[in-house]
């Protein structure tokens, strides 16, 4: 089934997406305004929360 949602096209770089990641920071940060202040903090919080989405689906697969 082809993906129709553009946010699903993050594999366009042909790089496999790392474990722990659903929507990579590089993809989502391109859609945001330029980040002022502590950009690393914003990235870290995004990645922590994105990893929860990752845990959700893989735990559905593994534990349920």
């Amino acid at each position: 089934m082809p993906s129709t949602d553009p946010s699903n096209q993050h594999s366009e770089s042909r790089q496999p997406i790392a474990p722990g990641v659903c929507l990579p920071w590089q993809v989502v940060s391109r859609e945001w305004p330029k980040i002022e202040g502590d950009a690393d903090l914003v990235r870290r919080v995004w990645e922590e929360l994105d990893s929860l989405a990752y845990t959700y689906i893989w735990q559905c697969l593994l534990s349920f």
């Binding site: 089934m1 699903n8 594999s11 659903c22 959700y56 735990q59």
Partner: protein, 398 residues
């Protein structure tokens, strides 16, 4: 904190961990994998412990308090069917819903032509396993989630909120459960984290065993590539759930790798290379794996013997325990070996005799943990579990 209870906890944890490191503790530890048995013992229905994890936790705590065990799984009735229904997952028959209330949950494999993953979807899975699971797999295995391109629905949205909140509450409750086991009965948790073999994930949750059998003949390279694509993810999930103290092993629950589901050659080709990579990857991080060899695995012992010394605790189900000990006893701790039909239909004296023999042979030099062969369900007789516990204490002193 009750100091006597904490002392008991430390004593048991030391005993359990030393055995897993193939040392000789003060005595042979007991770590029974009691699943639906806990319901029967604590006075709950199967439905109660399967659908309400608070009751499952309470049943596990009651067993831990009443039996002198060195470690227990905080909840061995591992599939909480409350979450299954919250997400709308279709592949379980749940007690009281699809099957009678006093029947343990069962996994339903769909017919071949409705497999959760179609035979021509390997490339999509391999390219992005996580995306595939969200976009293709989840809509197929649930009643609620809509597929990509379909009109979204209220129920689709609810499924994710209900499911993720349910999962969060369940996993957080494990923390409290582990603390209560420690404080109330001085019982350590037996495991931390979950692992499955890439091949089993494809067989059980994606292509189905039948479909995968066909694929091994028709598109073997795709099967291998899919196993490889899943490997880093399964390693990541296992490592992220592992014990930060590196005392407890990750539970590896295997299914279709053994004879007769796979020939030893098929095992060596399809099942083993990626699983071995994961076990070695965990060991490189200092994490042991509890190798739960459900079924008959003795045909594959030579491969398992190649793993780094101490990297696994080998759990025996149907394989000949003494043959396992000869092949692996020099490298790994061994657990299990008390047959489940003996625990279900046998007499306490026979159970005691069996435990005695296991301790005096494969447990002679340490590195052995007493347990049943397979997970104990509600067919296990209480008096036989008592006999197992008593015999382990009676004959298990070093």
């Amino acid at each position: 904190m009750n100091e006597a209870v904490e002392q008991l906890y430390q004593q048991r944890l030391t005993r359990y961990v030393r055995a897993m490191r193939r040392e000789k503790p003060d005595r042979v530890p007991i770590r029974p994998f009691v699943a639906e048995f806990t319901a029967k013992y604590a006075g709950y229905t199967i439905q109660e412990v399967t659908h309400d994890y608070h009751k499952a936790f309470a049943a596990a705590r009651k067993c831990a308090a009443d039996f002198d065990w060195d470690a227990v799984v905080p909840n061995m009735v591992y599939v909480w069917t409350g979450l299954v229904k919250a997400v709308g997952i279709k592949y379980y028959a749940c007690p009281g819903i699809e099957i009678p209330p006093n029947t343990p949950f069962q996994y339903l494999e769909p017919p071949d032509d409705q497999a959760h993953m179609r035979p021509d979807e390997y490339d999509e899975l391999i390219a992005d396993p996580t995306g595939y699971l969200y976009n293709v797999w989840l809509p197929r295995v649930t009643t609620e989630v809509r597929a990509q391109g379909e009109t979204t629905t209220y129920r689709n949205n609810l499924s994710f909120v209900r499911g993720s909140m349910a999962m969060l509450s369940y996993f957080q409750a494990f923390g409290d459960q582990i603390a209560r086991l420690r404080q109330e009965s001085g019982t350590p948790s037996a495991l931390s984290g979950i692992l499955k073999a890439p091949f089993d994930i494809i067989a059980d949750k994606l292509r189905g065993y039948r479909g995968l059998c066909m694929d091994m003949f028709r598109q073997p390279q795709k099967v291998l590539a899919a196993c490889e694509a899943l490997t880093p993810h399964l390693l990541h999930i296992a490592a992220s759930g592992a014990d930060p103290q590196r005392n407890l092993p990750v539970g590896l629950w295997m299914h279709r790798g053994c004879v007769p589901f796979l020939s030893p050659d098929q095992f060596a080709k399809f099942y083993w290379p990626t699983l071995r990579q994961i076990i070695e990857g965990l060991w490189a991080r200092g994490i042991q794996t509890l190798f739960y060899a459900e079924g008959e695995w003795n045909a594959n012992l030579k491969y398992i013997a190649e793993l780094p010394e101490g990297s696994i605790v080998y759990h025996i189900d149907r394989g000949d325990a003494f043959e396992v000990h000869r092949a692996l006893g020099g490298k790994f701790c061994i657990s299990g070996g008390v047959p489940n039909d003996l625990l279900a239909f046998g007499q306490p004296d026979d159970v005691k005799e069996c435990v005695k023999k296991l301790i005096q042979t494969i447990g002679r030099d340490g590195g052995y943990i007493v347990d049943a062969s397979a997970i104990m369900q509600d067919d296990t007789r209480v008096e036989n579990v008592r006999a197992l516990t008593e015999a382990a204490r009676l004959y298990g002193e070093y």
